[in-house]
Symmetry: C2
Subunit: 216 residues, 2 copies
């Protein structure tokens, strides 16, 4: 199974491409924005495609051709403004869904945020609310497509080393989770078609990633 | 017919409430954000309801009860950032649609911008693109509801006195249009159920508003 990783150069993305390349049934195509980001992925033996998510859907669709699944783990990042949140987290995400449809790719895994419900928008601090709005509508858009989708809602992301032990459920308590373990959950999600149509929150816990994902 | 005007204190909104109050078959309820904005509308004999579009849907739904139509002409304005664009032009708009559904109001008229297509997003200047994205998704959301909707796409808005002469069609050339004439097009749209399910651009032209809208 070939997997297009959108946002490959991000912190989850880099873990994810490495883990995909280490997996015997998976291979990655890293979607990146700049040529100078490519060497990390080439060193892992992964393909790369250079595409700007603010660009045309046609270019994203071209980069999507020939893969079996798309993982969206791009983010405008905490240091950009709400303008980039709109352009990347919402519009960029929807464009990758349209690109998947155009390229005939059915499987789509969205890395959302912990809680993107209407209630989460209302209770978010003012500075964070626009991000939740963008992720809310990206998730809603995905639910309305015919793509075979899974939506993963990780807790507070850390750069701690992964433990491989998580708690996964439609609703789990708020908690931390290493980005490395989120990547493991994504890999296991790709490997289990039973996750199609599901969405779940992920934090650190006491179940192996394989067991936790299979139980969804 | 009682009409909830969302964004009544805006530049189109003020014209619109006045014209609705002058119309024998229509009356307005002005949705405003602050008590001190109310006197203008009370002087016109219009009801007011004070609601923050960043607040709960339930509060917006309560303010929507008992009207026959909703007009969305709110905008975060040119002097706010993309955060308010996300919160008002996209999420605020969608919340008024949900509020209309909850209050059992079927008729909904959206004042969009001139061009909210995917192509318009791509060709917009970088500073303007987030606004187009927000309006694009608000329009898309409305199209996906069961509301009896009309989407009006005005050209470049001016504060010139209205002439009552416009050009209205699904696609018209780029051009100016006084806000006062946009308000007239909204009133005529409310008065003509044949406009349900339609969307059209509006600029100044040489047809009376009544004839131009009836021809849609």
């Amino acid at each position: 199974m070939k997997v297009l990783v959108v946002g490959a150069n991000g912190q989850i993305g880099k873990h994810l491409v490495k883990q995909i390349q280490d997996h015997e049934d998976l291979e990655a195509r890293a979607l990146i924005r700049k040529e100078e980001q490519a060497s990390y992925f080439h060193d892992l033996g992964a393909e790369t495609a250079i595409v700007d998510l603010e660009g045309e859907v046609a270019a994203i669709a071209k980069a999507t051709e020939g893969v079996d699944a798309v993982v969206f783990t791009a983010g405008s990042g905490p240091n950009t403004g709400a303008d980039k949140t709109l352009m990347i987290d919402l519009d960029g995400a929807v464009k990758t869904m349209e690109a998947a449809e155009q390229a005939g790719v059915k499987r789509y895994v969205m890395i959302s945020s912990y809680d993107t419900t209407r209630e989460a928008i209302q209770s978010a601090p003012e500075s964070f609310a626009p991000y939740v709005v963008a992720k809310h509508y990206a998730d809603e858009w995905l639910r309305g497509t015919n793509l075979d989708h899974t939506i993963i809602h990780p807790g507070r992301l850390t750069n701690d080393e992964g433990t491989g032990q998580v708690a996964v459920a439609p609703q789990v308590d708020r908690g931390d989770v290493p980005r490395e373990d989120v990547a493991r959950v994504i890999v296991e999600t790709l490997a289990n078609d039973s996750t199609i149509g599901k969405e779940y929150q992920v934090i650190s816990g006491d179940q192996s990633v394989a067991d936790a994902v299979k139980a969804q």
